[in-house]
């Protein structure tokens, strides 16, 4: 096009230069690719380390050590009034019977020192356990039965090897006498390592060997029930309004901005709102699942609304047109056609929202669900705690055994979460329709 002759590289020179740089560029390419792959590898490694760490600590926490003692279930001493009533059993002498059985197990009369040591070696809830045994098997009264009692948490730690025999006595949590008794029990084959019944059927306790998650689990389920019965209908209703009915105006826009903002508000702030509004202003009681459920519902609402809207949007317009065309009203179209078709997507979103609510801790701390509650909650306004908060509280306790119990509780929580998420994925796969 111009008169000037082209003064560039000759083709041969150009090829040579490209050839020379090509090797470098290819090396760069593979480095780049490797970087991406190793980042994913690293992230997955974190995941594996996290789960492995929890499992290694937690699986032993599902078990604990028990000692089998032959207890003389003397009727007069266990049940002084002879009517098997609760008062009669609790006025009885269950603790002393357990101690006698323990003394018999090591074949000694036992001085005061031995008795004192022994009393600290089995769980302080053993008397109650004996009473519960009698309540379950009243026919055994008057016989001698082998009954398993949990060992004290220090003994448990010793049997697991966390307390070394070699440590000098004054630095150890248990003394030589206790260790010699443990050895006797071991020789007699009285010690057994079993799935912990306290973990699954026991409630909160300061004694590590008796602590269980049943109360927290029930509290979680009640809270979740309230949460879902508020969040699901309201979330679906809001999504239907915004997708199907709402005119495009300022009001709708404000609602949408609010939903997006709420999704970004830190969860602890919802707890503060619950504290200030429901507890201080409305005078609702503290520590109850009702308030916890409402707060979690408000927190998960944006998640449910957003996923429900996506599900509604995925229903093709032709369905609506067909319904309207044969004379359905707008509401009939929505409730008879759009909603049933969008339901799988909405349920998936709801399950994911519920999983989020199940794992949430911070807002519940704010509204007082962190109290030490022994009774298993039976209603919406009974004081309760939930599983993540229980984990948080146990994580603070100093006893070695609580670390295992905490990890075991985490395993249970993760099992619930994984089940819920798997259910969401299955639901989506099974019911989702591609149009």
């Amino acid at each position: 096009m111009t008169d000037n002759a082209f003064k560039g590289l000759s083709p041969q020179e150009a090829t040579a230069r490209v050839q020379a740089s090509l090797k470098q560029r290819k090396a760069k390419e593979s480095r780049f690719r490797l970087m991406g792959a190793s980042a994913i590898g690293l992230a997955l490694l974190f995941l594996v380390v996290l789960f492995a760490g929890i499992l290694i600590k937690g699986v032993p926490g599902l078990f604990q050590y028990y000692v089998t003692l032959d207890v003389d279930l003397t009727a007069e001493r266990l049940d002084p009034k002879g009517d098997l009533s609760v008062e009669s059993l609790y006025s009885g002498d269950a603790d002393a019977l357990v101690l006698e059985a323990a003394l018999k197990s090591i074949g000694e009369e036992g001085g005061r020192k031995t008795k004192k040591a022994l009393r600290k070696m089995y769980s302080s809830g053993s008397g109650i356990r004996l009473i519960e045994y009698i309540q379950a098997n009243p026919k055994h009264l008057g016989t001698t039965q082998s009954i398993k009692f949990a060992v004290d948490d220090d003994i448990d730690s010793f049997l697991r090897g966390f307390i070394q025999r070699e440590t000098p006595q004054e630095d150890r949590r248990i003394d030589d006498l206790t260790i010699s008794i443990v050895d006797k029990w071991n020789e007699a084959g009285l010690i057994s390592y079993e799935l912990s019944d306290y973990l699954f059927f026991g409630s909160a306790s300061r004694d590590a060997e008796m602590a269980g998650i049943k109360g927290a689990l029930v509290g979680s389920l009640i809270t979740l029930f309230i949460c879902i019965s508020i969040a699901f209908p309201l979330g679906v209703a809001a999504a239907v309004y915004l997708e199907e009915i709402a005119p495009k105006n300022r009001f709708t826009e404000i609602i949408e901005i609010n939903i997006n903002n709420l999704a970004a508000v830190p969860s602890v702030v919802f707890g503060i709102m619950g504290l200030a509004i429901f507890i201080v202003t409305f005078g609702m009681p503290r520590s109850v699942p009702l308030v916890g459920g409402i707060v979690l519902a408000l927190m998960t609402l944006p998640t449910i609304i957003i996923s429900s809207r996506a599900a509604i949007r995925a229903v093709p317009p032709s369905i609506r047109d067909a319904a309207l065309g044969i004379g359905a009203s707008k509401m009939q179209t929505i409730f008879h056609h759009v909603l049933p078709l969008a339901m799988p997507g909405m349920l998936t979103g709801t399950i994911i929202g519920m999983a989020q609510a199940l794992g949430e801790t911070a807002p519940l701390l704010m509204i007082g669900m962190v109290a030490f509650i022994v009774d298993i909650p039976a209603g919406f306004t009974d004081p309760a705690t939930v599983l993540p908060v229980q984990i948080f509280m146990w994580a603070d306790f100093a006893e070695r055994m609580f670390i295992q119990k905490t990890s075991a509780a985490i395993i249970v929580l993760l099992a619930f979460l994984i089940t819920m998420n798997a259910a969401a994925i299955l639901l989506r796969k099974k019911l989702e329709r591609r149009w």
Partner: protein, 460 residues
């Protein structure tokens, strides 16, 4: 108990009205009369007419009457309680409420007994009146609805209007929640600023709220200081550490997933990464406090460094792992939405895949990636349990990752967990901190959305 029983009774009445209304239309239709609406809608209209006003009345009454009792019961308080006000009033109310609930601590004072007797009688009167009013209202309106049933009556339109109203109400809940959040922190923050000047709070470098208790106990000495900077420095430090972990790992993963991974690998890896975001934060906190923090301490001490047992590094690293999926998923979406034509053009000029990605795709996706990172920052700033469990409570103004620092969220939790007095500056300071936290996170969110909006305009 009375409430749930009454509510169930109300529901039963409504079901009866629904069945009656539907039945009436159905039998009329059998005789060949043509109705405007289907039987179902006539039944629903009757039931809704019976339910909505009565149910609303029931709920309002149940909330209002306790508030009223709490107000009336003040007439029984001894003069000194009313004069001293504040926490004394709370204690007095608790005494009466315990007495009403049948919980006794020792020998109750005479006025408590009188007050609780009065309360009990108010409560029983209120329950009776409530039961009668609600039931009469429900039955009367239900009967009115039943009498409205006739062929030309537009029951469907009425029902749909009510439904539509309910849908609107449900979506305004988002606005109400926002207002609730704003007002719940706003009033307490204003009260806090009446006690502590805002400049002292915002620019103060010392955070030491516990002196107040000592003062009241009479030991005197020192004043409480409420400077928020140490907490924000702590939050900043931990979030920075988290980002140093999450941004490179998350971004590189996103690039690999979007540009290199085969669809099948992508379909497996993406959900796996998202598990990291689904693990409850309390689990991360436990992991950070029990596994990561001791590890860092041991390694640091082996290298001759002084490491606090609750170092910012442990909390930051674990938080970084938690927010990897936020960065990777959002960035992955953004990278995928870069038009293929841009890539094709770069390939056409002879670029390799990595050159295309670095010089064409990433610059094009940059605004979206920045938005993703900002959202991750907002997540890190608001994260609570990890820092509560692993970062400690020492309010040091320090930028050394091996020191123990505290954060805004962990202070809020520490102050507000357990019983608090709403009069003390210490409790109120938590609300002031929350206000700052909300402003910060919403500001970040707004900023991110703004960037995304601008980016969208370029390619759509």
């Amino acid at each position: 108990m009375a409430f749930s029983f009454l509510f169930l009774l109300l529901v039963a009445i409504c079901i009866a009205f629904y069945l009656a209304g539907r039945k009436r239309v159905e039998s009329a239709r059998l005789q060949g009369i043509k109705f405007h609406s289907l039987p179902n809608y006539h039944g629903l209209w009757t039931a809704l007419l019976a339910f909505v006003p009565a149910g609303g009345l029931l709920i309002t009454w149940s909330i209002v009457d306790i508030q009223l009792f709490q107000h009336w019961v003040r007439d029984f308080y001894p003069a000194d309680v009313i004069v001293s006000g504040g926490s004394q009033l709370v204690v007095a109310l608790a005494k009466v409420e315990n007495m009403v609930a049948g919980v006794r601590f020792g020998e109750p004072e005479a006025w408590v007994v009188q007050a609780s007797d009065a309360w009990t009688s108010w409560a029983s009167t209120s329950t009776w009146m409530k039961t009668i009013t609600v039931l009469v209202l429900a039955v009367a309106l239900g009967l009115y609805g039943y009498r409205q049933i006739e062929p030309s009556f537009r029951a469907r339109n009425g029902v749909e209007r009510i439904f539509s109203g309910a849908l609107i109400a449900a979506s305004t809940l988002a606005i109400l929640t926002t207002l609730g959040i704003v007002f719940s922190v706003l009033f307490e923050t204003i009260r806090f600023f009446q006690l502590v000047p805002p400049t002292d709070f915002i620019f103060g470098t010392e955070w030491n709220p516990q002196f107040e208790g000592a003062e009241r106990a009479g030991s005197g000495g020192g004043t409480a200081t409420y400077g928020m900077l140490p907490m924000f420095a702590g939050t900043f430090l931990i979030s920075t550490i988290a980002l140093v972990v999450a941004v490179p790992v998350g971004l590189a993963s996103a690039i690999y997933l979007a540009e290199y991974a085969r669809p099948k690998a992508r379909a497996t890896i993406k959900p796996l990464l998202e598990i990291l975001a689904g693990v409850p934060t309390v689990v991360y906190g436990f992991f950070a406090a029990l596994t990561v923090a001791p590890l860092i301490k041991n390694v640091g001490e082996a290298l001759g460094l002084t490491v606090a047992s609750e170092s910012a590094l442990a909390a930051g690293l674990v938080m970084g792992v938690m927010i990897i999926p936020f960065v990777s998923s959002l960035s992955d979406d953004v990278i995928n939405s870069v038009p293929q034509s841009l890539r094709d053009a770069a390939y056409g000029l002879g670029s390799t895949k990595s050159e295309t990605t670095r010089q064409v795709v990433l610059p094009a996706a940059l605004p979206g990636i920045v938005a993703a990172v900002i959202l991750a920052v907002s997540r890190a700033v608001g994260e609570t349990m990890i820092v509560v469990m692993a970062a400690g409570l020492a309010a040091n103004l320090s930028f050394n990752p091996l020191d123990a620092v505290t954060t805004v969220t962990s202070q809020i939790v520490t102050i507000l967990v357990g019983d608090q007095e709403f009069e003390s500056a210490k409790t109120l300071s938590a609300f002031a901190l929350s206000t700052m936290l909300i402003i910060l996170t919403l500001g970040l969110n707004f900023f991110a959305l703004q960037i995304v909006k601008k980016y969208r305009e370029q390619y759509d």
